[in-house]
Symmetry: C2
Subunit: 192 residues, 2 copies
């Protein structure tokens, strides 16, 4: 197959699939949840996590006011929750009520933790940066919520217990193929 060279990123989905997360925030009685695919770990010590959010989003103002945010990882069979919170705005609906999203208590913050998440981070906001048309929120992870049995003794997701929800773009979701799991020792690998 040949290659094409293109100026402009078009739909900007080449770098997908990406684990889709539900970002949450709460200020007093107001709480909201939104879908995000643009996120990354940034540092191990201290543990920092970044999420790109458009200033148009209701959650954007909530995070700035609250000074904290939650990152929730949902299983593939709950990807509908991600679609639902991604297709509505907290300015018009209480998404937790409208989509019957159950919450669990956070420990060190007030961010909503989704009961159906297999993992979740409570983050304290440590900075925010305008990068183009989105704001990059940087939070320090102060608490990790994790379903028992979600990870193996190597610390990686146990794909027989957890099927992560990944966004492919254009309202399409996929999960990982457990049968494809391959161990490639970086120190031993050489080109055959």
């Amino acid at each position: 197959m040949g290659k094409v060279c293109i100026e402009g990123v078009g739909k900007f989905y080449h770098h997908y699939p990406r684990v889709a997360v539900v970002v949450t925030a709460r200020v007093g009685e107001k709480a909201n949840a939104m879908a995000a695919a643009w996120h990354s770990s940034l540092s191990r010590k201290p543990p920092l996590y970044g999420v790109a959010i458009s200033p148009k989003r209701f959650t954007h103002a909530l995070i700035l006011e609250a000074g904290e945010f939650g990152v929730n990882f949902l299983p593939f069979d709950r990807a509908g929750i991600i679609a639902a919170v991604g297709g509505s705005t907290g300015r018009e609906v209480d998404k937790f009520e409208a989509f019957k999203i159950a919450e669990e208590k956070p420990v060190l913050t007030s961010v909503p933790i989704l009961a159906e998440a297999y993992a979740a981070y409570e983050c304290k906001l440590v900075g925010h940066h305008a990068f183009g048309d989105h704001t990059w929120f940087v939070g320090e992870i102060v608490m990790v919520h994790l379903v028992e049995g979600a990870v193996t003794d190597k610390g990686v997701l146990d794909l027989s217990a957890v099927k992560p929800a990944m966004y492919l773009g254009a309202d399409r979701y996929v999960t990982a193929l457990r049968e494809s799991l391959s161990y490639l020792d970086r120190k031993a690998w050489t080109r055959e």
Copy 2:
């Protein structure tokens, strides 16, 4: 299954799998390639992409000097290249030679483009930020290289043509399960 609450991120793999990329840079005769899993799109207009790189990496200094970097997306059956460049340092070896990594010509920069990549971005560095123990390099994507047939008419990866290499942590790689592909219309989705 119950949940546990943990302070400290441990192996920090809860948010994986992540598409693993090969980040490249060149200064004069010196070129290097490294593996990275901490990366994200940041903005659509202009198209910005971020990559977290430890200051210990050889590529870190190369990017600062070159003012540009490449992001290469390899198929799952070439994940060995990611493992190889992740397990060696450009201070000691010419990875392109050692691992027989074929290059293609970049268009608007001098960054190495991997011939076996199904997609690649040429990025001009627009900023770099110290977030904890890594530097967050922000680049504007000035050119996209894409294998013909890699994406559908919706702009998403055609998983029957391309199997993305995703890192699960601890030297483990997986790809996406094409049979799991689900369309969830965000405007139509409601809790059943």
